[in-house]
């Protein structure tokens, strides 16, 4: 019995899937071959992301160590490379606590729900030519939709833990996520308009000039927004150790904590992969049809390094500063970007339907100028608005003042 995959199937564009499907389909019924091929592809992708997560935990700690003039993990393996294994074994052997009065079902569901969006996003990212698991025609929208599910998982963690610090952390996390989603969506709209496609492969192919240059504001807004959504350091109020201990995952221990941590690091990887795809021309480079994966990995490493660099450089912001940054600054510049981009497309495109490389260069110059102007103006405005915090009155003095008032 042999099966043929219909050409209009979403997975038809994936060579690996087709190969496994044909192989399994020669012996098994078609629907079983379909499931097996799907599982094989998923197995490879999921384990690839998890292995990347393990490497990232090591690289991040090592780099943070160097940034802080320390050595970083160096005990097990060459350069401490086996540190993630040691961490995993430690976390696996730890006790798996469930707090008293917790909503057990919801509490135990959370690690799975945290991991899910991270892995689902990978499905549409093309690592090299024709390697996206499913090249959806609405890839960008799919990424936004799937990653919005994290909000619910965070809230479930905070609610079910029966711990007020967890609830505080969840409320903060949800507030950050909800407010940063708006500028992120608006910034991606600009990218989609220039590319003329919502499929990630389409966006990669449209980048004759990397959108790093064509959409600099969108890149900035997207990078800031995703690092806020991933709870990375300048924006990690959701787990401010000095205030609310560890935020929404305070009650999680052992393997559940490991999964939540892995989902955060994996989220960083997938977000960086999305940035590489949307702004750094993805797998494009010299010899792209053979070395696409290499270019992709190099760019991914660069973006991850930048994320770690930012984490090592900036202190944690206050909650109100984070909110102001999103609503007053990111939202306004992403709206400016949207307006400028749509006007430019309207002027440049003229009669023919597609933007040429020359058009992209013109747009790049104009948008870089607009980005510089935005940063200058915003810098001026924010400097004018810095208020001096009044020093608190000494306790004795205020006490006497109160007594006198009485």
């Amino acid at each position: 019995m042999s099966c043929r995959l219909a050409a209009d199937n979403v997975l038809y564009g994936n060579p690996l899937f087709r190969w496994v499907y044909d192989l399994a389909g020669s012996a098994l019924p078609c629907w079983l071959a379909y499931i097996i091929a799907g599982l094989v592809v998923m197995f490879i992708v999921v384990n690839g992301v998890l292995a990347g997560t393990a490497v990232l935990t090591w690289a991040e700690r090592k780099l943070l160590g160097r940034f802080q003039n320390r050595v970083g993990p160096n005990r097990w393996g060459p350069f401490g490379l086996l540190q993630p294994m040691a961490d995993l074994v430690k976390l696996l052997t730890k006790e798996n606590l469930t707090p008293k009065g917790a909503d057990r079902l919801v509490f135990n569901l959370v690690p799975i729900l945290m991991m899910m969006p991270t892995l689902l996003v990978v499905a549409v990212v093309p690592f090299a030519m024709n390697t996206a698991v499913a090249d959806l025609s609405i890839g960008v929208l799919y990424i936004l939709a799937v990653s919005s599910l994290t909000i619910l998982a965070i809230f479930m963690a905070g609610w079910s833990s029966n711990n007020r610090f967890a609830l505080f952390g969840a409320a903060r996390g949800v507030a950050v996520l909800v407010s940063y989603e708006v500028p992120v969506v608006l910034s991606l709209l600009g990218v989609v308009m220039v590319a003329g496609s919502m499929s990630l492969s389409g966006v990669v192919e449209a980048q004759a000039v990397p959108f790093l240059l064509v959409q600099p504001i969108a890149l900035f807004v997207f990078a800031a927004g995703t690092s806020a959504e991933l709870n990375r350091t300048p924006f990690d109020v959701a787990e401010g150790e000095s205030e609310i201990v560890a935020g929404y995952h305070i009650e999680y221990s052992g393997i559940k904590f490991a999964i939540i941590q892995a989902s955060e690091f994996g989220g960083t990887i997938t977000a960086s992969a999305v940035i590489v795809t949307l702004f750094l021309a993805g797998w494009q480079g010299p010899l792209a049809s053979y070395l696409g994966w290499l270019w992709f990995l190099l760019k991914l490493g660069l973006v991850l390094f930048l994320f770690v660099w930012v984490r090592a450089t900036y202190p944690r912001l206050r909650t109100d500063q984070i909110m102001a940054f999103s609503w007053k600054f990111l939202l306004s510049i992403s709206l400016i970007n949207l307006l400028a981009t749509s006007l430019e497309i309207y002027w440049l495109r003229g009669a023919e339907r597609a933007l040429t490389t020359g058009d992209l260069w013109i747009m790049a110059l104009m948008n870089l100028a607009i980005a510089a102007a935005c940063l200058l103006v915003a810098g001026r405005l924010s400097q004018a608005k810095v208020r001096r915090v009044r020093p608190p009155l000494p306790v004795a003095a205020s006490g006497t003042a109160a007594r006198e008032a009485r």
């Binding site: 050409a7 199937n9 038809y12 919801v106 919005s148 599910l149």
Partner: protein
């Protein structure tokens, strides 16, 4: 196809069970989570109908935004864990719910279900034949087009044409309504000016 039937019945079972759970579970937070399950199952149905765009929008709007609103409402409700106490509004509420159900069923039964205007149907049919019947899969692959992509692009295009063409007035009216709601909520939150 066997697989699609299995998935359909599985989704239907999950959706009905979750919908029953929403009504029967006493813990309001869990009820909200079950409602999210129902939303996701609906998205699954859209995928089965090859309406990927609608499925993603369903997840984005319902599971992403409406669910958060619900969850916040639950969090701000007093005595959530004890669930809804029976009160005097029970009977009127049941009557209202029954009425709404009757209206929905009546509309579903009496509607003719020819949603697309003829011109759009022709366009969609044209794309369908181009994608599946007209050329061989190999030819399409060489041209770099897989049928699904083309079809769902056409889907999106027709949706956009309908929204910004034929139904532009209701579409804009909804936008204005949403803006008014946002401004109104801000005005309410701000309270009276101090002093």
């Amino acid at each position: 196809m066997v697989l699609q039937d299995i998935i359909f019945w599985l989704l239907a079972a999950i959706m009905l069970a979750a919908a029953l759970g929403v009504v029967l579970v006493r813990d309001l937070f869990r009820a909200a989570l079950l409602l999210v399950t129902v939303f996701l199952a609906v998205a699954g149905f859209f995928v089965l109908l090859s309406a990927q765009f609608l499925a993603v929008v369903q997840v984005l709007v319902y599971a992403g935004a409406v669910a958060i609103l619900l969850v916040f409402a639950v969090m701000l409700t007093k005595d959530v864990a004890r669930g809804n106490q029976p009160n005097r509004l029970r009977l009127p509420a049941a009557g209202l719910a029954g009425l709404a159900l009757a209206v929905f069923i009546a509309v579903a039964v009496t509607t003719g279900w020819t949603p697309l205007p003829p011109s759009v149907q022709e366009q969609a049919a044209l794309v369908q034949t181009q994608a599946s019947g007209g050329t061989t899969p190999e030819g399409l692959e060489q041209a770099g087009i897989s049928g699904e992509v083309q079809r769902s692009q056409a889907q999106r295009a027709t949706l956009a044409d309908l929204l910004l063409g034929e139904y532009v007035v209701p579409f804009e009216a909804v936008s204005v309504l949403l803006l008014a709601a946002a401004v109104g909520s801000l005005a309410l939150l701000r309270g009276r000016p101090q002093g």
